[in-house]
Amino acid sequence: MSDDFSELAALASDLGKVPPAAVKNVRKALEVTARSIKDDWREGAVVSGGYAETYAPSIDYDFQPDSEGVTVDIGPHLGKTAGASAGFLEDAPGNVQAPAQHAGRNALEANEDDFYQGLEIAVFEALGGIMEGG
Protein backbone atom coordinates (compact mmCIF):
# COMPACT_ATOMS: atom_id res chain seq x y z
CA MET A 1 0.00 0.00 0.00
CA SER A 2 1.43 3.36 -0.91
CA ASP A 3 1.67 6.23 1.51
CA ASP A 4 -0.57 8.56 -0.41
CA PHE A 5 -4.23 8.01 -1.15
CA SER A 6 -3.88 7.32 -4.87
CA GLU A 7 -4.59 3.62 -4.37
CA LEU A 8 -7.68 4.51 -2.42
CA ALA A 9 -8.94 6.52 -5.38
CA ALA A 10 -8.06 3.74 -7.81
CA LEU A 11 -9.82 1.18 -5.66
CA ALA A 12 -12.89 3.35 -5.57
CA SER A 13 -13.04 3.36 -9.35
CA ASP A 14 -12.47 -0.42 -9.55
CA LEU A 15 -15.38 -1.06 -7.26
CA GLY A 16 -17.65 0.51 -9.84
CA LYS A 17 -17.39 -2.77 -11.71
CA VAL A 18 -18.49 -5.16 -8.95
CA PRO A 19 -21.86 -6.92 -9.28
CA PRO A 20 -24.88 -4.82 -8.28
CA ALA A 21 -25.53 -7.31 -5.46
CA ALA A 22 -22.35 -6.06 -3.77
CA VAL A 23 -23.42 -2.42 -3.74
CA LYS A 24 -25.61 -2.86 -0.66
CA ASN A 25 -22.76 -4.48 1.27
CA VAL A 26 -20.24 -1.94 0.02
CA ARG A 27 -22.48 0.85 1.25
CA LYS A 28 -22.57 -0.77 4.70
CA ALA A 29 -18.79 -1.14 4.74
CA LEU A 30 -18.34 2.45 3.64
CA GLU A 31 -20.68 3.69 6.33
CA VAL A 32 -18.72 1.90 9.05
CA THR A 33 -15.44 3.38 7.80
CA ALA A 34 -17.00 6.82 7.30
CA ARG A 35 -18.29 6.83 10.87
CA SER A 36 -14.89 5.81 12.23
CA ILE A 37 -13.13 8.50 10.21
CA LYS A 38 -15.63 11.10 11.36
CA ASP A 39 -15.15 10.11 15.01
CA ASP A 40 -11.36 10.05 14.74
CA TRP A 41 -11.32 13.36 12.85
CA ARG A 42 -13.46 15.05 15.48
CA GLU A 43 -11.38 13.60 18.29
CA GLY A 44 -8.12 14.62 16.60
CA ALA A 45 -9.38 18.15 16.06
CA VAL A 46 -10.35 18.52 19.72
CA VAL A 47 -7.16 16.97 21.07
CA SER A 48 -4.81 18.99 18.83
CA GLY A 49 -6.15 22.28 20.14
CA GLY A 50 -5.27 23.92 16.85
CA TYR A 51 -8.79 24.30 15.52
CA ALA A 52 -11.63 26.71 16.05
CA GLU A 53 -14.12 25.40 18.62
CA THR A 54 -16.86 25.05 16.05
CA TYR A 55 -14.74 22.93 13.71
CA ALA A 56 -14.95 19.48 15.34
CA PRO A 57 -18.77 19.37 15.71
CA SER A 58 -19.13 20.35 12.05
CA ILE A 59 -17.36 17.20 10.80
CA ASP A 60 -19.86 14.76 9.38
CA TYR A 61 -20.40 12.40 6.49
CA ASP A 62 -22.99 12.28 3.72
CA PHE A 63 -23.75 9.70 1.08
CA GLN A 64 -23.79 11.37 -2.30
CA PRO A 65 -26.04 10.36 -5.18
CA ASP A 66 -23.93 8.35 -7.60
CA SER A 67 -25.35 6.44 -10.55
CA GLU A 68 -22.31 4.18 -10.88
CA GLY A 69 -21.45 3.29 -7.31
CA VAL A 70 -21.41 4.54 -3.76
CA THR A 71 -19.81 7.82 -2.75
CA VAL A 72 -19.48 9.22 0.74
CA ASP A 73 -18.29 12.71 1.50
CA ILE A 74 -16.57 13.14 4.89
CA GLY A 75 -15.46 16.43 6.40
CA PRO A 76 -16.49 19.79 7.81
CA HIS A 77 -20.10 20.52 6.96
CA LEU A 78 -20.43 24.19 6.10
CA GLY A 79 -23.18 25.88 8.03
CA LYS A 80 -23.69 23.03 10.47
CA THR A 81 -22.23 25.00 13.34
CA ALA A 82 -21.81 28.72 13.65
CA GLY A 83 -18.54 29.71 12.07
CA ALA A 84 -17.82 26.23 10.75
CA SER A 85 -15.39 26.49 7.92
CA ALA A 86 -13.68 24.11 5.56
CA GLY A 87 -10.17 24.48 6.89
CA PHE A 88 -9.96 28.26 7.01
CA LEU A 89 -7.39 28.85 9.72
CA GLU A 90 -7.68 32.48 10.65
CA ASP A 91 -9.50 31.53 13.84
CA ALA A 92 -7.08 28.77 14.81
CA PRO A 93 -6.18 29.09 18.50
CA GLY A 94 -2.52 30.00 18.79
CA ASN A 95 -2.44 31.42 15.30
CA VAL A 96 1.04 31.07 13.81
CA GLN A 97 2.08 29.04 16.86
CA ALA A 98 -0.87 26.64 16.45
CA PRO A 99 -0.05 23.02 15.66
CA ALA A 100 -0.40 21.90 12.06
CA GLN A 101 -3.92 20.80 11.20
CA HIS A 102 -3.72 17.16 10.24
CA ALA A 103 -6.68 15.66 12.11
CA GLY A 104 -8.41 14.74 8.85
CA ARG A 105 -5.37 13.14 7.29
CA ASN A 106 -4.54 11.22 10.45
CA ALA A 107 -8.11 9.91 10.67
CA LEU A 108 -8.03 8.80 7.04
CA GLU A 109 -4.70 7.02 7.44
CA ALA A 110 -5.78 5.36 10.66
CA ASN A 111 -8.83 3.85 8.96
CA GLU A 112 -7.25 2.88 5.65
CA ASP A 113 -6.69 -0.79 6.56
CA ASP A 114 -10.18 -1.05 8.01
CA PHE A 115 -11.58 0.36 4.78
CA TYR A 116 -9.93 -2.31 2.64
CA GLN A 117 -10.92 -5.07 5.05
CA GLY A 118 -14.54 -3.94 5.07
CA LEU A 119 -14.68 -3.87 1.28
CA GLU A 120 -13.13 -7.32 1.02
CA ILE A 121 -15.79 -8.74 3.30
CA ALA A 122 -18.54 -6.87 1.46
CA VAL A 123 -17.52 -8.17 -1.96
CA PHE A 124 -16.79 -11.68 -0.65
CA GLU A 125 -20.24 -11.98 0.92
CA ALA A 126 -21.95 -10.63 -2.17
CA LEU A 127 -20.15 -13.10 -4.43
CA GLY A 128 -21.01 -15.92 -2.01
CA GLY A 129 -24.67 -14.94 -2.23
CA ILE A 130 -24.57 -14.98 -6.03
CA MET A 131 -22.99 -18.45 -6.11
CA GLU A 132 -25.48 -19.87 -3.62
CA GLY A 133 -28.30 -18.42 -5.64
CA GLY A 134 -26.98 -20.29 -8.66
Binding site: D3, D4, F5, G75, A86, G87, F88, L89, E90, A92, N95, V96, Q97, A98, A100, Q101, H102, A103, G104, R105, A107, L108
Partner: protein
Protein backbone atom coordinates in the same frame (compact mmCIF):
# COMPACT_ATOMS: atom_id res chain seq x y z
CA UNK B 1 16.48 9.44 14.06
CA UNK B 2 19.16 12.05 14.59
CA UNK B 3 20.90 11.33 11.30
CA UNK B 4 17.75 11.33 9.22
CA UNK B 5 16.66 14.73 10.46
CA UNK B 6 20.16 16.17 10.12
CA UNK B 7 20.16 15.12 6.46
CA UNK B 8 16.66 16.53 5.98
CA UNK B 9 17.55 19.87 7.52
CA UNK B 10 20.80 20.09 5.57
CA UNK B 11 18.88 19.51 2.35
CA UNK B 12 16.36 22.19 3.26
CA UNK B 13 19.13 24.66 4.02
CA UNK B 14 20.88 23.85 0.76
CA UNK B 15 18.38 26.13 -0.94
CA UNK B 16 19.85 29.65 -1.28
CA UNK B 17 16.45 31.05 -0.31
CA UNK B 18 16.29 29.03 2.91
CA UNK B 19 19.92 29.06 4.04
CA UNK B 20 20.04 30.19 7.66
CA UNK B 21 16.26 30.42 7.83
CA UNK B 22 15.36 27.02 9.27
CA UNK B 23 14.25 27.08 12.91
CA UNK B 24 12.89 24.35 15.20
CA UNK B 25 10.04 26.50 16.56
CA UNK B 26 8.11 29.63 15.67
CA UNK B 27 10.41 32.54 16.42
CA UNK B 28 9.44 34.80 19.29
CA UNK B 29 10.85 37.91 20.89
CA UNK B 30 9.49 38.67 24.36
CA UNK B 31 6.54 36.34 23.75
CA UNK B 32 5.67 38.11 20.51
CA UNK B 33 6.12 36.25 17.20
CA UNK B 34 8.94 37.75 15.17
CA UNK B 35 7.87 39.22 11.83
CA UNK B 36 10.24 37.56 9.40
CA UNK B 37 10.37 35.09 6.53
CA UNK B 38 11.57 31.66 7.62
CA UNK B 39 10.59 28.01 7.90
CA UNK B 40 9.97 25.83 10.94
CA UNK B 41 11.16 22.22 10.77
CA UNK B 42 12.05 19.92 13.61
CA UNK B 43 12.72 16.26 14.16
CA UNK B 44 9.91 13.89 14.97
CA UNK B 45 9.76 10.23 15.84
CA UNK B 46 8.99 7.73 13.08
CA UNK B 47 5.26 7.25 12.50
CA UNK B 48 5.92 3.67 11.34
CA UNK B 49 8.70 1.59 12.85
CA UNK B 50 8.42 -1.95 11.70
CA UNK B 51 9.83 -4.59 9.39
CA UNK B 52 6.30 -5.95 9.03
CA UNK B 53 7.41 -9.49 9.78
CA UNK B 54 5.17 -11.85 11.65
CA UNK B 55 8.07 -13.96 12.89
CA UNK B 56 10.41 -11.36 14.33
CA UNK B 57 10.49 -8.61 16.90
CA UNK B 58 11.17 -5.15 15.54
CA UNK B 59 14.48 -3.61 16.55
CA UNK B 60 15.95 -0.14 16.46
CA UNK B 61 17.25 -0.77 12.95
CA UNK B 62 13.87 -1.79 11.57
CA UNK B 63 12.31 0.11 8.69
CA UNK B 64 11.20 3.54 9.79
CA UNK B 65 8.82 5.96 8.15
CA UNK B 66 9.22 9.64 8.87
CA UNK B 67 6.77 12.44 8.23
CA UNK B 68 8.37 15.82 8.80
CA UNK B 69 6.16 18.86 8.99
CA UNK B 70 7.52 22.08 7.55
CA UNK B 71 5.78 25.38 8.31
CA UNK B 72 6.56 28.33 6.07
CA UNK B 73 6.15 31.66 7.88
CA UNK B 74 6.08 34.88 5.87
CA UNK B 75 5.35 38.55 6.38
CA UNK B 76 3.19 38.67 3.25
CA UNK B 77 1.12 36.24 1.25
CA UNK B 78 3.61 36.19 -1.64
CA UNK B 79 6.34 35.06 0.73
CA UNK B 80 4.50 31.79 1.25
CA UNK B 81 4.98 30.93 -2.40
CA UNK B 82 8.62 32.02 -2.47
CA UNK B 83 9.66 30.01 0.58
CA UNK B 84 7.26 27.14 -0.05
CA UNK B 85 8.48 26.73 -3.60
CA UNK B 86 12.11 26.77 -2.45
CA UNK B 87 11.41 24.03 0.10
CA UNK B 88 9.48 21.86 -2.34
CA UNK B 89 12.15 22.34 -5.02
CA UNK B 90 14.97 20.94 -2.90
CA UNK B 91 12.97 18.26 -1.09
CA UNK B 92 10.50 16.64 -3.47
CA UNK B 93 11.92 13.56 -5.16
CA UNK B 94 15.24 13.92 -3.36
CA UNK B 95 16.84 10.91 -1.68
CA UNK B 96 18.50 11.71 1.63
CA UNK B 97 21.96 10.26 2.19
CA UNK B 98 22.07 8.73 5.67
CA UNK B 99 24.97 6.56 6.85
CA UNK B 100 23.93 2.92 7.23
CA UNK B 101 20.45 3.51 5.80
CA UNK B 102 18.76 3.54 2.44
CA UNK B 103 16.08 6.18 2.15
CA UNK B 104 13.20 6.39 -0.26
CA UNK B 105 12.59 9.57 -2.20
CA UNK B 106 10.91 12.39 -0.33
CA UNK B 107 7.22 12.73 -1.13
CA UNK B 108 4.64 15.33 -0.26
CA UNK B 109 1.82 13.97 1.90
CA UNK B 110 -1.52 15.13 0.51
CA UNK B 111 -3.42 17.33 2.90
CA UNK B 112 -7.02 16.62 3.73
CA UNK B 113 -7.56 20.05 5.22
CA UNK B 114 -6.59 23.34 3.62
CA UNK B 115 -3.21 24.52 4.76
CA UNK B 116 -2.84 28.29 4.70
CA UNK B 117 -3.27 30.45 7.75
CA UNK B 118 -3.10 34.08 8.72
CA UNK B 119 -2.23 35.36 12.17
CA UNK B 120 -4.06 38.67 12.40
CA UNK B 121 -2.39 39.67 15.65
CA UNK B 122 1.17 39.10 14.46
CA UNK B 123 0.33 39.89 10.83
CA UNK B 124 2.02 36.73 9.66
CA UNK B 125 1.04 34.23 6.99
CA UNK B 126 1.83 30.54 7.32
CA UNK B 127 1.53 27.38 5.26
CA UNK B 128 2.14 23.77 6.28
CA UNK B 129 3.76 21.02 4.25
CA UNK B 130 4.41 17.40 5.23
CA UNK B 131 7.24 15.46 3.63
CA UNK B 132 7.51 11.72 4.02
CA UNK B 133 10.09 9.00 3.38
CA UNK B 134 11.14 5.53 4.51
CA UNK B 135 14.53 4.82 6.04
CA UNK B 136 15.64 1.20 5.72
CA UNK B 137 18.79 -0.79 6.48
CA UNK B 138 21.44 -0.18 3.84
Amino acid sequence: MKLEFAAFKARLESSPVLAGKVYPVVRKDAEVPVRANYVVARSSKPDRWTDARFTGVDTFDADRRYTYNVRVVAVDAGGLDVLGEAAARVLLGFTLAVAGRTCSQLELVPDVEDGDGYDRTADLYYRDFSFRFWSRRA
